[in-house]
Amino acid sequence: MTVETAAQLLKATVDELSRRAPAVIAAAANQLRGIILGLRFGDGTRIELRADHSRLVVSQPNGETPDVEVYFDDRALNLLFDLERRPVDQVWEQSLDVRGDREQVLAVWRTFQVLSQRGSGLRAVQSLWRSYRDRDPQRWGRLAEQPAVNRSRNPQHARNTGWRALDYLDRRYPEDIAKTSSTVGGAVYTDARSLWDGYESKPWWRFADVADTDLMETMQACKERVSQEFQRIVPDREPRAELYDLMREYPAREGKGLRPTLTIATCCALGGRDEDAVRTAAAVELFHNGFLVHDDIADESTHRRNEPTLHEAHGIGLAVNTGDAMNLLAVDAVLSNLPTLGLARTLGLIHEIMHMCRETVEGQAIELGWIRHLTVPERDEDYFHMSTKKTGWYTCISPCRLGAICAGETDPGKLDLFTGVFRLIGIAFQIQDDILNLLGDEALYGKEPLGDLLEGKRTVMMIHLFREIGPKQRQRLLEIIRLPRTEKRFEDAEEILAAMKQAGSIEYAVEMADRLAHEGVRRFEEDLTYIPENEAKALLRQIANYVTTRPL
């Protein structure tokens, strides 16, 4: 993205952080809650910033008087970000102006503190600000001492830069160690630290806490790594066209990479190696895709990830067989961990995988039962129960638990902590998915629009709608959802959607997802304190917060 103005820079920063570090945005939004912040910049551009639940919304001023007004010129912007240059020693005259109620000004200050302190460590954010700064570097105030980038043999360096090892790492090599091609780690800047300065020792094994990392970059890396493993697992032999090519093609369709990231990140957070979790993550993907193939047949879905479902493209027979083969290969993939992870961990993985599969098929049975018996459950809890079983376990809970087992964590008490946290996150995520199916852009969401309504899926919105409407309308809508999918028209789905909007079911679901996600984040921070604050745990934190800041 080209950033030409200061307003564009702020907007791009918030957008980047929303995608890469949702936890930072959620924390900033928490500070800004209820305040409309007007930002005016030295180049004449203006924007407005406000919090919507856990999201930060950047918009053009709409004429409403903001609660707090801040004026920045480029020199004062330097106060916010930029690790490479020292902040100006003081705010220059006519460089920064803040007006508003004292408490609200302090809240705004805290918002920027969160954004700058937690967000600026991300390489991507630094890159964005660097590109803006380099357009006109002189306006950014005094430069920090220019470091010698090249490793010179001149012993004079020892005198110029101070002889202490910390100075050498900070000043002679200001560019951080190049990010290696890893899945988890390296997305944030790390400062050099002293082990011994001649007087004080700090153990080499005590690393500084890392609270945030780049979610998008890491998810992409994890997805690619697991995808490679996936391709390796699927045999390269006949019958290709009728089986193995279908197995390869289906998972290669666009997905977020959430499950592989959860598995690898949990393993790394507990001190394991990412390579130890890759095979298991690929196995979970195999199970997941096997379930999806069968699920699409059961739901009579026509599209998955922007393309025809497998049974639509190749017929039900081949699709059923491909789904079976995926489940079979997944078991094989888990077993193949034996030489690297040892017997205890592999047995733990098998136990966990079996549990995951059992929960998933039970969840599927509950939902199919509702559809077959033409019932809509009355309580939200019924949906939570079904959703946790059908998607929660294999989407969020089991990937984390499996990652923990890969790292050698087999204590049921500790594994159950992941269940508690990610059950809530998983339900919130599923509710949001259901909302996106109704309101979202097909290109982004990947499933046919209103597909859930055509399938007659019992979502939170549907349950709420049937609770709220009168008997006459209930009878009418029941007649629609009782129709087989092939007989339902798009107009029928739109009629249900209109009723949901009228009954406030969508707002109800948005609020519920938000509440569950916040509870999940709270439990993440309270229950998982035993995990050290490393970059992998930071990644789990971003995933937990991703649900709260996801654009709906």
Partner: protein
């Protein structure tokens, strides 16, 4: 003739007539306390930096109730081949007898003597002829707790020639240059805390002469207060110890984390025992030393590591010695002589047994 007075070996190239004191490498007194320990440590890098090895032979005190039994001995050998990783024995490497040590007196310079270390699985293995080319440093001692200490003495510039076996590959007549150390004392792993240790030899010297420059650094970080750390950096020039930078004159700093995938756990058996995860290893280590006009900088980039898991006798968590290999840049000035070289070095980051 007294027991410690030995005839000069025929291959001796330097006049060594007598050696005073104990024969070495350790005092003759038996190990008496439960946590009393003795080690002999070996580390070598081939001149082309493709092969490296680390070996450790350790004796642990038997306790008073078992005075007549031999102390338990564990020995491990790790061989690393650049690009292919590590190959490790279990803790039962077969060793030649008597075990080679530069501290076994009298010990002539440049006189090759055998050291053979073979895994019971036959690989890895080394059959080396070792020759001293340099002098040892003065003995160092670190206090760890009221009744615990660790004493060590190092010698750089050990020249090794011989056969190396790495998995199913054998390499004959490999010349390597390395380091030898003896360690003794009485300590528990939790009290010891951890250490950072390493060495580097300037590889440009002739094969029959000591490295032009060599140095060894140590930083012992006991569990005690932060100022109780003990460390030093010692610099050899042409086989002679020329400068000893004491702890107040050195600084250590690190940055980044080595990817865990680059760390291999050893011995392989430890993978079956549910060993707790390792601590992250720093990616870059920078050491500076300065005393008067003399100074040295050591800039080390960790490239590959092996985690040797040592069960702790007094805590649940094991003690881990991370043997790390990587490129190093050294420059410095000693007594007005400037030196600089690029090579590969072996370093150790050890610790992790402290449950607290």
């Amino acid at each position: 003739m007294p027991a410690n007075l030995r005839p000069r070996p025929p291959s001796c190239t330097e006049q060594v007539a007598v050696s005073l004191g104990p024969e070495g490498p350790f005092p003759r007194i038996r190990l008496r306390k439960v946590l009393e320990r003795r080690w002999l440590h070996y580390a070598f890098l081939s001149r082309d930096h493709k092969l490296s090895m680390v070996a450790n032979v350790a004796w642990l005190g038997p306790g008073l109730e078992a005075e007549d039994t031999a102390p338990p001995c564990t020995s491990i050998l790790l061989v690393h081949k650049r690009g292919e990783g590590w190959c490790s024995s279990q803790f039962n490497t077969l060793t030649s007898t008597p075990l080679w040590s530069a501290f076994r007196q009298p010990h002539a310079m440049h006189a090759p003597a055998p050291l053979t270390l073979t895994s019971t699985a036959t690989t890895p293995a080394v059959e080396l002829q070792l020759a001293r080319s340099s002098r040892p440093c003065t003995s160092q001692c670190a206090w760890l707790a009221p009744d615990q200490h660790l004493r060590w003495q190092s010698e750089t510039g050990i020249i090794a020639r011989g056969r190396w076996t790495f998995r199913d590959q054998t390499f004959d007549d490999v010349e390597a240059i390395g380091y030898h150390e003896r360690v003794r004392g009485y300590w528990g792993w939790p009290e010891l805390g951890g250490w950072v240790f390493g060495f580097a030899n300037d590889p440009s010297g002739a094969s029959d002469s000591p490295p032009p420059t060599a140095f060894v650094f140590t930083l012992i970080q006991p569990r005690g207060p932060g100022d109780a750390a003990n460390g030093s950096m010692m610099v050899w020039r042409n086989g002679r110890l020329r400068r000893h930078f004491p702890r107040r004159c050195i600084t250590f700093a690190v940055r980044g984390q080595l990817r865990r995938n680059k760390v291999q756990q050893a011995p392989a058996l430890s993978n079956l025992f549910g060993v707790p995860p390792m601590e992250p290893i720093p990616q870059q280590l920078m050491i500076s030393a300065r005393m008067g006009d003399d100074w040295v900088t050591y800039d080390y980039y960790c490239d590959a590591a092996a985690r040797v898991v040592i069960p702790s006798e007094t805590s649940l968590r094991p003690f881990s010695v991370h043997e790390v290999i990587g490129p190093v840049q050294v420059e410095g000035c000693i007594s007005g002589e400037h030196f600089a070289f690029d090579t590969y070095g072996i370093a150790e980051f050890a610790g992790g047994a402290d449950d607290g």
